[in-house]
Subunit: 176 residues, 2 copies
DNA sequence: TCAAAGCATCTTGACCGGCGAGATTGTCGG
DNA sequence: CCGACAATCTCGCCGGTCAAGATGCTTTGA
């Protein structure tokens, strides 16, 4: 079970480290994705629905409720898909629509109780596992990890935009 | 754009660090996923196809060609989906089927030239971006990152199995 | 001031394709 | 010959894209 670590020189110890870390990251990503998939299936939704629910939750907790349009940007979904998605989540009682009183074109998405409970149920055990791991690292070490991950995150984000720009087929942009 | 970092106490500086790292990881995962999606779309396949191609490539480079069954395990796909998937990839000239001479039930999947080229084209720029980031870290720092990611990876893997075991609906197992 | 054009946001409907479930075919081990 | 196993086939569902439409804000120009 290798990855693009395979395409490096493994004689050099630093190259070896690089490929190990690369593998770690990929395995983490894939498995994290599978966790989401399994959890979603367990509760009668699909992976997209769960991502959406999390986005709605995040936005709401940040005090800045999300709209279907912005949700579509974040999930890289077309507007039609978003409507169907929101329909599903609303029908299942996870979120509800609220029209903006100022600009009545807009629809704000809010977590209903079931949705909030589900998000907590998803994150709570994940969070405690994470805490367990982090407890085995010093503050300085965690700072290094943070610096590294922040840079990797920015880098892959740039790369994503570059790949998307390669052909103007889906000029979606995440607002940040 | 927060995440389950939201569900932590942010007064404690260590808790703050924890939630920052958690956010980094999630953003990385999501964006990495989007990179795959965009790249795949650019080449007329979907995300699953690309994952499969990578798995076939990895197995082949490891000297242990993969079978449709094991591929389905890795991608968490049903056997029917795998057949369709392999059909698509074979029709597109990315891989080819080879029956095992010993056990003629088994089919080995091998990368065709187009598939190998595509995989390289996917990983090469990603690898150089990664190298750029890593160049800004010392050996010791990278060692810390590796230790951290290895533990996180193992942890999320355990969690994945726990969630999957919650209901025996899709008792898929990655062979490791 | 106000009507009309223009833009933004969401929704609808038609269509397509991936995925899962179950039955089927071919193959190995006893 | 008989179970166990691997892959394939067939079918239906569901989520996705796309294009068009409905609604409401905003700007413009007499």
């Amino acid at each position: 079970m290798a990855s693009h670590g395979m395409y490096r020189r493994r004689d050099d110890p630093r190259g070896r480290m690089a490929s190990d870390i690369t593998n770690d990251l990929r395995r983490y990503s894939v498995d994290a994705q599978h966790v989401g998939h399994a959890f979603a299936a367990l509760h009668g939704l699909n992976a997209t629905d769960l991502h959406a629910l999390i986005a709605v939750m995040d936005a709401e907790l940040a005090g800045d409720p999300i709209t279907p349009g912005r949700l579509g940007e974040q999930l890289n979904l077309s507007s039609g898909s978003v409507t169907a998605l929101v329909d599903r989540l609303e029908r299942a009682g996870h979120i509800r629509r609220d029209r903006d009183t100022a600009d009545r074109r807009k629809v704000f998405l809010h977590c209903a109780d079931r949705g909030a409970a589900l998000a907590m149920e998803f994150f709570q055990p994940l969070g405690s596992r994470t805490d367990q791991v982090m407890a085995r690292f010093s503050d300085d070490e965690l700072a290094v990890v943070h610096r590294f991950m922040a840079e990797m995150s920015a880098s892959v984000r740039e790369h994503r935009d570059a790949v998307r720009a390669a052909r103007p087929e889906s000029p979606r942009r995440t607002t940040d």
